[in-house]
């Protein structure tokens, strides 16, 4: 079973590489935001998978945190883009 997890994880990483390229290449800031946001969501699943790979499934709290963090960061970035300020 762990092989399946492992393959999934590797696919996720490969996807992350592609997204990273997009984040760097742009061409607009929105591409960067999009790509980083997508990497963020991938990490959420990834951290869950890691729990399964290591056989410690009880740490899914981590994934929740990841999700929230990604969300808030994205909101902050967008507010910066839209309003030019954070407060």
């Amino acid at each position: 079973m762990s092989t399946v997890y492992l393959i999934t994880a590797v696919v996720l990483i490969v996807g992350a590489f592609m997204l990273l390229y997009r984040a760097l290449a742009g061409p607009t800031v929105y591409d960067t935001i999009l790509a980083t946001n997508a990497i963020g969501t991938k990490t959420i699943v990834f951290v869950t998978l890691l729990g399964y790979i290591s056989g410690r499934t009880e740490f899914i709290d981590m994934a929740i945190i990841y999700a929230l963090i990604t969300f808030i960061t994205t909101i902050a970035i967008l507010k910066y883009i839209e309003k030019g300020r954070l407060d």
Partner: protein, 103 residues
């Protein structure tokens, strides 16, 4: 291989494929809105699929609940983020790419 493992494997495989295609789309599509499309759609679906797949192999009830919770949060948060990005881009004056060329 137990049935739940089979289900899990299938869901995971599906998730993998969608995930990969989404990433590939983000990499290759010609303009922002197309890439957004690729990312936004696949993100939610693929991740939720994988999480659901995992639910099947989890013996522990609490963990199952947590997994569903994560999936739920993803379902709310990911589209919101996508929406916000789109709106920002649109407000910023970014126009969709057309075959006629860039505006």
């Amino acid at each position: 291989m137990h049935w739940n493992e089979v289900v899990c494997t299938v869901l995971l495989a599906l998730g993998c494929v969608i995930n990969f295609s989404g990433s590939y789309g983000v990499l290759k599509f010609p303009d922002f809105y197309a890439r957004l499309h690729a990312a936004g759609k696949t993100d939610s679906l693929a991740q939720v699929l994988i999480l659901l797949g995992l639910v099947f192999v989890t013996p522990d009830v609490l963990t199952k609940i947590k997994l569903m919770l994560v999936a739920f949060i993803l379902l709310i948060v990911a589209p919101t983020a996508t929406f916000a990005i789109t709106k920002a881009a649109h407000l910023d004056g970014l126009r969709p790419w057309t075959r006629g060329g860039r505006q």
